[in-house]
């Protein structure tokens, strides 16, 4: 099996799905001739032509609106946000039009909305966003956020084949840093299933995307100190895999949640509530959170570094928790 980056895995999924089904089309800014700001769609136009790979004006609302309309005729559009930050410019189309369509009048919207997300590349306040919770909090949407090349390819295929609007977040810090062997043949990864990345008995660390790797590094460090952390990578944020989380907590009796999104209103709160509802008896200690502070994403490297969750921060919180 060839080793490919997370970015290449996404690119492969796009090529393979467009080859498999002419109902799959791509639409976005600079995705055609240029191949996308991060080159995720490179070569797509040359192979599948301008009817299927559509360069649009700078109009996120038009992109998402048009994708909804296309999906009503049975197409499966994959729309790109050049940076996920710009999804704020089509927030209404996504949350009011696409998300509510099936519930209101039974019209499915088989659309994928994907884009580079997250920080760590000095993108500053408008090119580093982690807006996932806005959509986790919007009934009618599914939210996927892979951390490995294998999952990225398999989950994007599932997203494209899904009958609902799926937000597919791609962590730009991981784009070219993650490399792994990915099977060349067609496979999918189911939406809604978390992965236990590392087994452990002392505490559970729940995380996703780039922070899943941070958490794994922290777990390795802790292991040398005799603390065995179980690390769960959510992979899908909506629907949330309650069972995997609860099973782990019932085993380790301690929960730490780590994410790059800001603290107040981040998914850690939702997970804490679920665990308090359904596994309260199993908790031997407080639920700990390691998150970004409640600020915009700062630009200067020292500021962004102090903003982002780090291996040290996760490890430190885990040590505290392990003491209980």
């Amino acid at each position: 099996m060839p080793e490919i980056t997370l970015l290449e895995a996404i690119r492969q999924a796009l090529f393979e799905e467009m080859e498999r089904d002419p109902a799959v089309v791509a639409i976005g800014e600079d995705i055609g001739v240029y191949g996308g700001a991060f080159k995720v769609t490179e070569g797509l136009l040359a192979k599948y032509g301008p009817e299927r790979v559509i360069d649009t004006p700078i109009s996120e609302t038009a992109i998402v609106g048009a994708a909804c309309g296309m999906s009503y005729l049975g197409l499966r559009p994959v729309a790109e946000m050049q940076f996920i930050d710009f999804i704020a410019c089509c927030f209404n189309q996504v949350t009011n039009f696409a998300a509510k369509s099936h519930y209101r009048w039974g019209a499915p919207v088989p659309m994928v909305l994907r884009g580079p997300s997250g920080g760590g590349v000095h993108g500053g306040p408008f090119h580093s966003a982690s807006p996932e919770m806005l959509f986790v909090h919007t009934p009618g949407l599914k939210v996927v956020y892979p951390s490995t090349a294998y999952d990225a390819k398999g989950l994007l295929k599932s997203a494209i084949r899904d009958n609902n609007p799926v937000l597919f977040f791609e962590h730009k810090f991981l784009y070219r840093r993650i490399k792994e062997e990915v099977p060349a043949d067609d496979f999918t990864v189911p939406i809604g299933k978390a992965a236990v990345r590392r087994a452990g008995r002392d505490l559970t660390i729940v995380s996703y995307a780039a922070t899943a790797h941070t958490s794994l590094d922290a777990a390795a460090m802790l292991s040398n100190e005799g603390i065995e952390a179980e690390v769960i990578d959510l992979r899908t944020l909506m629907p949330l895999d309650r069972d995997t989380i609860l099973a782990s907590v019932k085993k380790t009796n301690k929960l730490l949640i780590a994410h790059e999104d800001t603290r107040t209103g981040g998914i850690a709160g939702e997970i804490a509530a679920i665990v308090c509802e359904s596994a309260f008896e199993d908790l031997d200690g407080p639920i700990a959170r390691v998150t970004a502070p409640d600020t915009p994403v700062p630009y200067a490297p020292p500021l962004e570094e102090s903003y982002l969750p780090s291996v040290e921060k996760v490890a430190a919180a885990a040590r505290e928790l392990a003491k209980y």
Binding site: E19, P22, A23, V25, G32, V33, L45, A46, K47, Y48, G49, P50, E51, R52, I54, D55, T56, P57, S59, E60, T61, A62, I63, V64, G65, A66, A67, C68, G69, M70, S71, Y72, L73, G74, L75, R76, P77, N92, Q93, N96, F97, K100, S101, H102, Y103, R104, W105, G106, A107, P108, P110, P139, G140, K142, N163, N164
Partner: protein, 422 residues
């Protein structure tokens, strides 16, 4: 293409307009009896616009109504019971009570997209419908409506601009009924004709008397066929008047009384009845026959709605996601292989013949050089140099004959063209 109507069609137009009005009359009564859930929005005085435009569509064509386009829904095949039950939030309504008013659709048979309340959103959506229809080779046209007020939304701009760039077979009807809730057009934008919004996109536009159902139909029909031929999109401004408040709760005291009188004298149904008389297209007997039929149908459907149950509470939690309840299948009217390599493959490069240079006077300290003459609606050559936009039917940008004709033929927009003749 002819826009002439048969005698039967003339009477059908009357039937729909009268059905629209009587239906809404009844809903006003139901509203007063507290049988309507939520607000009730009237299209009184705008029937000719709703009906004349939708009448230009074929069954295969797609439309998305706005809140006042009850008439368009009726023309596209919806029944009064759909309207009654939606407004009464009954289990038997198209949305089973999950949403109300004209917020429903029909993907499979009637090709109707449900609106949402946020104004303007349907414009990019129906642009996408039009693009998808062309992509699938269906030769369809998509139509939606927007109010004078809604034309100030960002979605209007982004949607119509994308439609123009894509030359989508899309007709946008701008219903200028003089008011956006309590705000007159003059406070929404200082232009006399909202059709001028089209100039920003290099697309053709038309202005029509929105209370003249024949003129509306013919204008819409021409626009629809222009789009079907690959020369869309088209913007139509229909000038009409909202004869009631924004909704039932609104007495519209902010509207000058004389303005209501001015427009009452131009009531679209009264005018059309006069027109039918004038041209001997019917007689008193025929009229009462149609009116009777309308009352019959309305009696029946109102009864159906009033006797329908409210939805069961447990329905509230159901149907947020499509978990296999729908099978999604595109209707292909062209060979898929056209869209797969090698057929689909192209050389991915831009060509920019004239480099966008400034054609004015040479650099100088004189007054800013007088710029060149204005553009006529986008010459296809403007985008032909981009990777070819394949138009699977009609005549597309790559079609020289079309380009030829465009050069000779003055652009579609009557009043710009008129001016050039001076």
């Amino acid at each position: 293409m002819t826009t002439a109507l048969t005698p039967e069609q003339h009477l059908e137009l009357y039937y729909f307009m009268q059905l629209n009005r009587r239906l809404e009359d009844r809903m006003v009564r139901l509203f007063r009896q507290n049988k309507i859930v939520g607000g009730l929005y009237s299209s009184l005085g705008q029937e000719a616009t709703s009906i004349g435009t939708a009448y230009a569509l074929e069954p295969r064509d797609w439309m998305a109504p706005m809140i006042r386009n009850i008439g368009s829904l009726l023309v596209k095949g919806c029944k009064p019971r759909d309207i009654f039950t939606q407004h009464m939030a009954r289990y038997t309504s198209p949305t089973q009570g999950k949403d109300g008013t004209s917020h429903f659709g029909d993907l499979k048979v009637r090709h109707i997209v449900s609106p949402i309340s946020m104004l303007g959103d349907l414009i990019p959506v129906m642009t996408g419908v039009a693009m998808a229809g062309r992509y699938l080779g269906q030769k369809i046209v998509a139509m939606t409506w927007i109010g004078d007020g809604g034309s100030s939304t960002g979605a209007f701009h982004e949607g119509l601009n994308l439609a123009a760039t894509q030359r989508a077979p899309f007709v946008l009807v701008l219903e200028n009924n003089q008011w956006a809730y309590s705000t007159p057009v003059s406070r929404q934008v200082p232009v006399k004709n909202l059709a001028d919004r089209a100039l920003a996109y290099g697309i053709s536009s038309r202005i029509v008397d929105g209370n003249d159902v024949i003129a509306v139909y013919q204008t819409a029909k021409q626009a629809v066929e222009e789009c079907r031929a690959g020369r869309g999109p088209v913007l139509i401004e229909a000038k009409t008047m909202r004869m009631k408040g924004h909704a039932q709760h609104d007495p519209a005291d902010y509207v000058p009384k004389a303005m209501f009188e001015y427009w009452k004298a131009r009531d679209p149904i009264a005018r059309y009845e006069a027109y039918l008389n004038e041209h001997n297209l019917w007689d008193a007997e025929k009229k009462s026959e149609i009116d009777a039929r309308i009352e019959r149908e309305l009696d029946e459907d109102q009864k159906f709605a009033e006797e329908s149950p409210m939805p069961p509470p447990e329905l509230a939690a159901q149907g947020v996601y499509c978990d296999g309840c729908h099978t999604i299948e595109a209707e292909w009217h062209r060979p898929k292989k056209e869209l797969l390599p090698p057929a689909s493959s192209v050389e991915a490069i831009w060509k920019v013949p004239d480099f966008g240079g400034f054609k004015g006077a040479a650099p100088s300290a004189k007054q800013p050089p007088a710029p060149k003459a204005p553009t006529k609606p986008a010459a296809p050559s403007d985008i032909a140099e981009a990777p070819p936009l394949r138009v699977p039917f009609g005549r597309g940008p790559k079609d020289r004959s079309f380009e030829q004709e465009q050069r000779e033929k003055p652009p579609a927009r009557p009043h710009r063209h008129k001016r050039r003749r001076r």
